[in-house]
């Protein structure tokens, strides 16, 4: 468990610092967003395009397409997905009072994975009207439904007499994950070579398929969840004292759990649906912030959204330019950069984190 604010080394109120960090991160996100819009293999420059547009000159259709249809949706998807994954991780760690918790614990990962695999392997056999209606979006839609369904099942299983047991949820989540893994295994067995490659790439994540229709479908879900998350802050702060204590200081414990689980399922379900499996953001970002500005969820949740979005945009910049004209799956970048940084911080500030 991450030590609470009473650690001897950094005692005291860190909310001033957390607020300053929030402003810093917001500025950083803005800069990264601009960088993401203005950098790309085609060499189209945001400033030049805007300049000639403002001057009333003709902007080549190709440049507009690259900025408006490729880079902007990709940037917005990166912001929403990065923020959702980081906030999802922060909420889960607070809810389960466990530093290893991530959205996978509520079954989103396993369920979404199963949904995606189902769509990739059996999508070709779907009825014609389903295929016509969903088109390319069959994989994201199936992933979202899979993630949502498995969370609901898990929530039902671990709720008895109006009380949700996080311990039961943890254990049932492992069982459900194994079940989804077995079903995925059957589908992997049926899959042909091409589908297997698709599965591998899906599991490593990418922002490559970002488009306006996808943002229109998944964006509102992630946005709603992100806006709801800060309202959980007080509840999660209370829960860090333990469920009984939280109840005694008058917190609606069950409602906090209920809203937290729904928020995480929505945010990460939609994020995974549009971008595939992107690891590590949900674990690294909240911990980095806890080390820097303390465990107070009032600041942690907002800062996690900002830092998660920034980091994912940076990772995407690397992913799409390092081996151009090809593109590296973004999950590789987040893990390769995230893991060593995280280890380094753990080693340097070992005293602060007593896991």
């Amino acid at each position: 468990m991450v030590a609470l604010a009473d650690t001897p080394v950094m005692a005291g109120d860190r909310s001033q610092r957390a607020r300053r960090v929030a402003f810093g991160l917001a500025g950083l996100l803005g800069l990264t967003g601009l960088l993401s819009l203005s950098h790309g293999a085609s060499g189209v420059r945001l400033d030049l395009v805007l300049q000639s547009w403002l001057a009333g000159e003709d902007v080549p259709a190709r440049d507009w397409l690259i900025l408006w249809e490729i880079r902007l949706p990709r940037m917005l998807t990166g912001v929403l997905v990065g923020a959702s994954l980081a906030v999802g991780g922060a909420v889960m760690q607070g809810l389960f009072r466990n530093p290893l918790a991530d959205p996978g614990l509520v079954g989103v990962g396993a369920g979404a994975g199963l949904g995606a695999v189902l769509a990739i392997v059996l999508g070709g056999q779907a009825p014609a009207w389903v295929a016509a209606w969903l088109g390319w979006n069959m994989v994201p839609v199936a992933a979202f439904i899979g993630g949502w369904l498995s969370t609901m099942v898990l929530y039902r299983v671990s709720t008895r007499a109006g009380r949700t047991s996080t311990a039961t949820m943890l254990l049932a989540g492992i069982a459900l994950g194994a079940l989804a893994g077995a079903a995925t295994g059957i589908l992997v067995y049926i899959a042909d070579d091409r589908q297997l490659r698709d599965l591998t790439f899906w599991g490593l994540g990418s922002l490559g398929g970002a488009s306006w229709p996808k943002i229109a479908a998944a964006g509102p879900v992630m946005l709603l969840a992100l806006l709801a998350a800060p309202f959980l802050a007080r509840g999660l702060n209370g829960l860090s004292l333990g469920e009984a204590a939280a109840h005694h200081i008058g917190l609606p414990v069950q409602r906090v759990k209920h809203v937290a689980i729904l928020t995480v399922a929505a945010a990460t379900g939609a994020a995974v649906a549009v971008s595939g499996g992107i690891g590590f953001i949900g674990i690294v970002v909240p911990h980095l912030l806890r080390l820097a500005t303390g465990p107070d969820h009032r600041y942690l949740l907002v800062n996690a959204a900002l830092l998660g979005a920034t980091l994912l945009l940076l990772a995407d910049l690397i992913a799409r330019s390092i081996i151009a004209p090809a593109e590296l799956p973004i999950g590789i970048v987040t893990a390769v950069i995230g893991a060593p940084v995280f280890l380094w911080i753990l080693l340097r500030r070992r005293g602060l984190v007593d896991l």
Binding site: G40, A41, S42, G208, G209, A210, A324, P329
Partner: protein, 286 residues
């Protein structure tokens, strides 16, 4: 066959009307057999990039790599400023293909091939897209003649030897080519029969099923990863060691794209495989 070619030509015209305005000179190939056909048509100098699966002829490997054919990147491709993208049927993802078309780059999808007609249709599609009708007709005739020779040689075999295609044997576990695979199509083309039945696609095979399948010949690819597999590995394998193929030391390895790409070298590959089968049949008779 003619109907297929006509259909693919119609598809090209429908997909890329702009392609015929000018002869494309900056072409991206997505798919090993596509790059091969472009080179065989004598248009290799028009290629500016290729995908990961393109490895023949060796000079295409010097071109920039656009990555795996099903995970293409829209902006990176547009940035290369191609005037045509020639892609195998399974290129993707669809969002990126859509973006490419909207950026005004003609995108030509080359149909899948698992038989001589399919190979002819592939060549016809590429030749039409590159505006090379004569070279296309010549290449088609050449490849058709080779494929016909392979078919005749295949028919001339008194029996159809049982061939097992092993995709990999990592850790001793067999992954073999079942029904409907390009490996089976090639085995049939060469006059053999697939020893693996009752499985669809490339699937793991149990040791006992491998013994029961008892192939006369084992066929493998010689490419990275599995290239360490030798005859000794096969004879030492608990199940494969008991098959006729291992007992008579009949193991053939061929380059993956050559063997399974169904490009212009398909006829040559089928003839090569057929010569191994012919040897085998004569040995058994004699």
């Amino acid at each position: 066959m003619i109907r297929q070619i006509a259909a693919s030509l119609a598809a090209v015209v429908a997909l890329a009307p702009a392609a015929f305005a000018d002869t494309p000179s900056r072409v991206v190939a997505a798919g090993g057999s596509v790059a091969e056909i472009i080179h065989a048509l004598g248009a290799g100098d028009r290629l500016i990039a290729r995908d990961t699966t393109s490895s023949f002829p060796p000079e295409v490997e010097a071109l920039p790599d656009i990555g795996y054919v099903r995970a293409l990147s829209a902006e990176n491709l547009i940035a290369m400023d191609p005037d045509m993208i020639l892609a195998e049927h399974d290129a993707g993802p669809p969002e990126v293909l859509d973006m490419l078309q909207r950026s005004g780059i003609p995108l030509v999808m080359v149909p899948q091939a698992l038989d001589p007609d399919g190979v002819a249709a592939k060549i016809a599609t590429v030749a039409a897209a590159l505006d090379l009708p004569e070279a296309g007709a010549a290449l088609q005739a050449e490849v058709a003649a080779q494929l016909e020779a392979a078919r005749i040689a295949g028919d001339a075999l008194p029996t159809a030897p049982r061939v097992m295609f092993i995709l990999s044997m990592q850790g001793g576990r067999l992954l073999v080519g079942g029904e409907g695979t390009s490996a089976e199509a090639m085995i049939t083309l060469a006059g053999g029969s697939n020893a693996v039945t009752g499985l669809e696609g490339y699937k793991p095979l149990t040791d006992e099923a491998a013994i029961a399948a008892n192939p006369d010949l084992i066929l493998m690819m010689d490419r990275g990863g599995d290239h360490a597999v030798t005859l000794a590995d096969i004879t030492a394998h608990p199940a494969l060691g008991l098959t006729d193929a291992a007992l008579n030391r009949r193991v053939v390895t061929m380059d993956g794209l050559y063997l399974l790409g169904f490009g212009p070298r398909t006829g040559a590959a089928a003839l090569e495989l057929n010569s191994h089968l012919r040897l085998l049949v004569d040995e058994v008779k004699g």
